[in-house]
Symmetry: C2
Subunit: 308 residues, 2 copies
Amino acid sequence: MRVALLAGGTGGAKLAAGLQEELGAGLTVIANTADDIETLGVHVSPDPDLVGYWLSGEIDEERGWGLRDDTFTVMQRMADLGAPNWFSLSDRDLAACLYRAEFMRAGGRQTDAQAQITRGLGIEARVLPMADEPVRTKVITDHGRRELQEYLILDGGQPDVLGVELEGIEAAAPTSEVADAFRTADLIIVGPSNPVISIGPILAVPGMREALGAAVAPVVAVSPYVGGEIVKGPTNKFMAALGRPGTAAGVASLYARLIDAMVVDEADPDAPPTEIPTLATPTLMDGAAGRVRLARTVLDYGETLIDA
Amino acid sequence: MRVALLAGGTGGAKLAAGLQEELGAGLTVIANTADDIETLGVHVSPDPDLVGYWLSGEIDEERGWGLRDDTFTVMQRMADLGAPNWFSLSDRDLAACLYRAEFMRAGGRQTDAQAQITRGLGIEARVLPMADEPVRTKVITDHGRRELQEYLILDGGQPDVLGVELEGIEAAAPTSEVADAFRTADLIIVGPSNPVISIGPILAVPGMREALGAAVAPVVAVSPYVGGEIVKGPTNKFMAALGRPGTAAGVASLYARLIDAMVVDEADPDAPPTEIPTLATPTLMDGAAGRVRLARTVLDYGETLIDA
C-alpha cells in the first residue's frame, strides 16, 4: 500500500512513525517548510527534520522534539562569541541544517538535500519538502508581525493571533516528487498537525489543492483534537484567527472539498463534522504501540474508502 | 611596550602566547589568511584561529593544533549525511568558523569577525587578519595545482613543490588596523612560521612591505630552524621551490631589506645570515616556560635595536 501523508509538527510526525512501521518504503511524507528559518548560517527546516527524527527513531520522545542525548557544544560556543542564542540547535540537529544550507547554496534543491539527509539517517520512508521555493509563515499579533519561530519561541506562543501571512507562497509550486506521490498513492492522509500553520501552508501552495484533487486516492484527515484538546502547541489561537472553532468540525471546515473522511477522537466532547463520514477512535498516540495502533486504524479505515 | 607580530602556524602562534604573557594587550598579531578555506558552509581561517587558541590557552598543546578536549559531533554527523570529510573541524572550532561565515555573509569584515571571536575567547592581545580581501594559496606540485589545505591534508605535504600562487593577492590591501599596528609599534617581530606560505602571503599583500618599511619600529625575525631542522611542517619543500636553502640564512634572504636583525637557534649547524645582526639563543619553545623565555629574549634583543 502506498500512502502520502501531509504533516507538520509533532502529531503528524508521530503518525508518520506509526505508518512507517506498517508501510516501510510505501510511506511518503509531504512536510511543511513554511516554518523554515535561516539563522546563524544554517537552514533550519523544523518540520521535515522533526519527521525525520521520529522516523529514524532518534527523537527525544519524552520531550517530543529534538534528538535524544544530543549536545549543544557549537551553539553554546557561538553564543560565547556573541551570536544570538534565542534559537538553539543541538549539535547533530545543527549538522543537518548546515548540510542543507551548504547543499542549497551550491545550487541544490531542498528536496534533494532532504532526501540525502533522510538516506543518511537510514530512514525507509521518504520525506518531501512541500516545495523547493522558500515560503515563510509570518504571524500577525497585537504585538506586531513576527516570524513564526519568534512567535513560538520568543513570545512563547502567548499573544493572540490576528492573522497569518505566507511570504513567498505565490512563487511556490508542488515539486514533481510531491505530485508523483499524490498520483501514485493508494491513500492520502492529512496528519493531526496544526491545520493553520502546519497543514495550511502545504495546501496554500499554488497547484497543491489541484494536485490533491486530481489524485485517485481517497483523502482522510486525522483530527488533532484529543478529548477536545490540542496535545501540544497554540493551535486554538490560530483557529480563532481564521474564525474557526477549536474542534474537529472546525478543522474539517478548513479542509472542505478536499477530504473524503475524517478520523476523530472518540473522547471528543464536541460534535464531529457532519458533511463527511467520520470514524471515532482513540487518537492519542501514547508510545510506539499507540502510534502503530492509530496508523493501523487509519489505514484500515482508508481501505474501506478505497474499496468504496 | 607595543609589539606587532607577523604569524602563521604553530611556531608564530607559540611565540604569540609567550609574548602575550609579557605584554598583555600590548601585543597585536597580524595573521596569515591565505590558508583560509570555505568548506561545508563555514569559513575556516586556520592561522588566526590557531593563534587565538594558543592565546586563549585552549590549544591542545601535545598535538600542537586544535582545541583541547573538543568533540567532533557535527562533522561526524555531516559525514553520515554524505558530506565530504577530508577536512575535519572539532565542534568548538567549527562554531568560530560558522560564526565567521555568517558574520561575513551579512556584510561584515573578516577583521571584525576575528575581533569578536578574540573578545569572545577572553584574549588580551589582538589578532588581525592580514587583509579583509580573500587571498588563497595554491600549491603547484608535480601532481598538479592544489589548494593549500588539500596539499597539506590530502597529499600529506609529500609531493615536491614547484611553485606557489597567491590567488586574489592583487586585490588585497593591509587593513587600517594592520597599518595602525605597524605605525604604533615599538617593535615588529616576524614569527618563526613558514616563510613562504605563512609569512610570505602577509608580505605579498600590496602595500604591506611599504607599511612595514614606513614603521619607525625595528623589525626582527625569528628563524623557524631549530638545530637546523623545522619543528613541524613541510617548510623545506617550499624553500626549495623558491630556490632558497633550508636555513636561517635562506629565510633572511626572503626578508631582505625588510628586517633589521634576526634571532637564530644557537644549535643551528648552518652559517647564520651575514648581512644583518643576529642573536643566537635556544629557540625551541618547550612548554609555557620555553615560550616565555624566547619571547623575553626577543623582546630584550628588540629593545637593544630600538635604543640603537
